[in-house]
């Protein structure tokens, strides 16, 4: 059974801290790994990673994939209270149909 595990499940930091969120996976037919940010409503897309070792970066957020060790990390530097959200990791498996398998998410709280 395809599995995506995120850690930690929750994290509380102060503004300005740097955080690292982890995502490991065991799936058949890996195609890509995606990170989403979910505040109160709809998950919003952050990154899609398909190749090992190539860092994706957007402002203070960055992510990298290791296909050999089957994990990805999401880094957030100089955190702000607006970064408080649930960060979801999902793996796109391709086995006849496109299917995203999600982890449980990491709840990040950034205190002022």
């Amino acid at each position: 059974e395809d599995k995506v595990v995120q850690s930690p499940l929750s994290l509380v930091v102060h503004e300005g801290d740097t955080v690292t969120l982890n995502c490991s996976y065991e799936v058949t037919n890996f195609r890509s790994l995606l990170w989403y940010k979910q505040e109160k409503k709809a998950p919003t897309f952050l990154f899609m990673l398909t190749s090992s070792g190539i860092e994706k970066k957007s402002g203070r957020l960055s992510s990298i994939l290791d296909k050999k060790e089957l994990f990805s990390i999401l880094n957030i530097t100089a955190t702000q209270t607006g970064d408080s959200a649930i960060y979801l990791c999902a793996v796109d498996t391709q086995g006849g149909s496109e299917k995203l398998v999600f982890g449980k998410g990491t709840k990040l709280t950034v205190n002022p």
Binding site: V4, R31, F45, L88, G96, S97, E98, K99, K104
Partner: protein, 113 residues
């Protein structure tokens, strides 16, 4: 561009009642997904449509859940009869690409009492 529209935003029903959710994807998006997100969990795919055909419904509890996407545009998801464990947020997503959903609606929060 307008996002994925879902209605209603909230619904409270008693167990054994029926409920329906509606989704209008982004214009031109051929792929539409329904997800169930239980509190504290990541979204779980229920059903995937490509145009008006079902691509994957392997995780849809077919004894009580049904979905359709007539004309390949908007979609409805129905639960009949509802159980307490159906309490969740039901998310609709659409995509124009073939690598997975990247446009989610705000969801319908269902509470079954």
């Amino acid at each position: 561009e307008a996002g994925v529209a879902q209605s209603p935003r909230y619904k409270i029903i008693e167990k054994r009642q029926s409920v329906a959710f509606w989704c209008n994807p982004i214009s031109g998006h051929a792929t539409l997904y329904w997800y169930q997100q239980i509190l504290g969990q990541g979204p779980k795919l229920l059903i995937q449509f490509q145009n008006n055909g079902v691509v994957d419904d392997s995780q849809l509890p077919k004894d009580r859940f049904s979905a359709e996407r007539l004309k390949g545009v908007d979609s409805t998801l129905k639960i009949q009869p509802a159980k307490l464990e159906d309490s969740a947020v039901y998310l609709c997503a659409s995509s124009s690409s073939d690598w997975g959903p990247n446009n989610f609606g705000n969801g319908t929060r269902l509470t079954v009492t």
